[in-house]
């Protein structure tokens, strides 16, 4: 620090000095630094609000809140439901998104691929309320039959133990709706990543006598691995936080169960907040905010985990190819 503040005559005569001399650079530095600090400030503000308002809810005794339970037993089914529905959505959406991205990038003529890409991107523009309506009114009814079939044929698995819901408004239906909602973002990122596969590597594989699928397996998928994980995490983030669609589709009853097709389903944190908040008062509000804090922490943890996965095999990531 002291060195930069000491006037050094030899420096002053050259152009290579610090950017301080140029107004444009200083303005840009100020703007970008301000933008970065604003994000941190907003994040800190949200964290402080959630903590300050949430702590009374966490410490409240069971008879002071509407649910009549202690905070852990109130929030645990919600945490489970949130993670469970988001995981199911990822399991459905990621393979589909990768397949769509590969198809669009490698298997159709460029023009058609672009058109398909736009259509998929349009899915992202549909409001979540619309997805909720569709899931509740159309999809749920359609899935009643398949759920009954699943119960009959695969009922020995805990996932399909049943009894199958008569309305179809189960956690699996919610997960399917969530999967449709996160499909565009995951697909868009997978497409972008696949498009950036170096031509040199694609040709290396083809010149060794790889078929198109073998080329994809040898070069494209490994190269796109960290990008696909990043896309999946963005999708997971959206699935974890999605409120309206889940609130509308799911008939929730605050249990922890692996059963995907029964009429008793765990709710999710955001859906529960949306459904309960209007009628809540006093410490119940604080308990709901505290559940929001839990979601905040989960989202953070998911992001850090994703980063760790991406960095784990950096040497082999192709970053220096």
């Amino acid at each position: 620090m002291s060195e930069t503040s000491t006037p050094s005559p030899s420096r002053d005569t050259t152009d290579t000095g610090p950017a301080s001399g140029r107004v444009g650079d200083r303005v840009f530095l100020g703007i970008s630094r301000g933008a970065a600090l604003t994000i941190l400030a907003i994040l800190a503000g949200v964290a402080i609000f959630l903590t300050a308002e949430g702590i009374p809810g966490i410490t409240a005794s069971p008879d002071e809140v509407k649910s009549g339970e202690s905070f852990p037993s109130f929030v645990l089914p919600l945490v489970f439901g949130t993670l469970w529905s988001a995981t199911l959505a990822l399991v459905i959406a990621v393979p589909l998104a990768v397949a769509v991205a590969l198809f669009v990038t490698y298997y159709v003529p460029r023009r058609l691929g672009q058109a398909l890409g736009y259509v998929i991107d349009l899915l992202a523009a549909v409001p979540s309320v619309v997805f909720g309506l569709w899931g509740m009114r159309v999809l749920a009814g359609q899935l009643v039959g398949p759920y009954e079939w699943l119960e009959r044929t695969l009922g020995f698995l805990p996932f399909f133990a049943g009894p199958a819901s008569a309305t179809g408004r189960t956690i699996l239906t919610a997960a399917v709706v969530l999967a449709v909602m996160i499909l565009p973002i995951v697909t868009a990122i997978a497409r972008e990543v696949f498009r950036q596969t170096p031509v040199l590597l694609e040709e290396a594989a083809l010149a060794l006598g790889a078929t198109r699928w073998e080329m994809i397996r040898t070069v494209v998928l490994p190269h796109g691995r960290s990008g696909m994980i990043g896309g999946a995490m963005l999708g997971l983030g959206r699935a974890l936080g999605e409120t309206m669609a889940v609130a509308m589709v799911l008939s929730a009853s605050g249990v922890i169960t692996l059963d995907l097709i029964s009429s008793t389903n765990p709710s999710t944190i955001p859906a529960n907040i949306a459904l309960q908040f209007n009628e809540a008062s006093g410490l119940t509000v604080n308990a709901l905010i505290a559940s929001g804090l839990v979601l905040f922490v989960i989202t953070f943890a998911v992001n850090f985990a994703a980063r760790a996965v991406v960095n784990r095999r950096k040497e082999f990531s192709g970053a220096h190819a």
């Binding site: 590597l201 290396a204 083809l206 060794l208 040497e315």
Partner: protein, 288 residues
Amino acid sequence: MSMRSVLRDSVPTPVPTPAVTAAGGGSRRPAIGIDVEDLDIYYGDVQAVRGVTLAIPAQSVTAVIGPSGCGKSTFLRSLNRMHEVAPGARVDGTVRVDGRDLYAAGVDPVLVRREIGMVFQRPNPFPTMSIRDNVLAGVRLNGGRLKKDAAEAVVERSLRGANLWDEVKDRLNRPGAGLSGGQQQRLCIARAIAVEPQVLLMDEPCSALDPISTSAIEDLIGQLKSEYTIVIVTHNMQQAARVSDETAFFNLAGVGEPGQLVESGATTKIFSNPDNPSTEAYITGRFG
């Protein structure tokens, strides 16, 4: 075009190169030559190369030289059907390897590429794979699973064949991308010869390398020609003179016209006493 007779004129290599005729076919070794007849190459509506007729002898090094944009690389890539990777690319004419036309109906380009290896301008080892897996990549594509010791044997043979074994034998599990540029290029050669192709195509394999690495690759080319038919595209005429037995000179027919083969023959002849004045002009550095 009289290059055929020129080709048969004199063979300056110490090792006599048997002029294996295309009709001879059948045996896997020794390597076999390539017969190109009246080859036209197009990208969409644009013709890139016109009317190439050239006999590439077996177990020798044939250099393809010429100014930028004259279709050398396009021609090379048509020899293993790699140019088809570009949309709209197509070919008229025949390319016979071992008597079979690569462009006959029903020939699968994937199988062609398994028989004819290729080394590219810039080293392109698979960055997500270790050195060992890079060498085995083609083998795994071609024939499925190898027993562990068979795989080790292939790795050692190929890396020794590419003069790389001593430098990497202690770190076969390290990423291939961690090697120097010259080592990466030799790794790519090891990857290409691991599948025992009949022909090895090299597209300016040294253009991204320093002189020492270049010299290592050139030595390697000299050794490989006893087993493979090698076609090398190069911008560097000294390199063509050093490594090749035969030379083919490509040039543009005119501004905006497709590239064509001007002259081909024994390297010693092309570099000392070419028939065509434009060949002489290019080789002596008066253009290009």
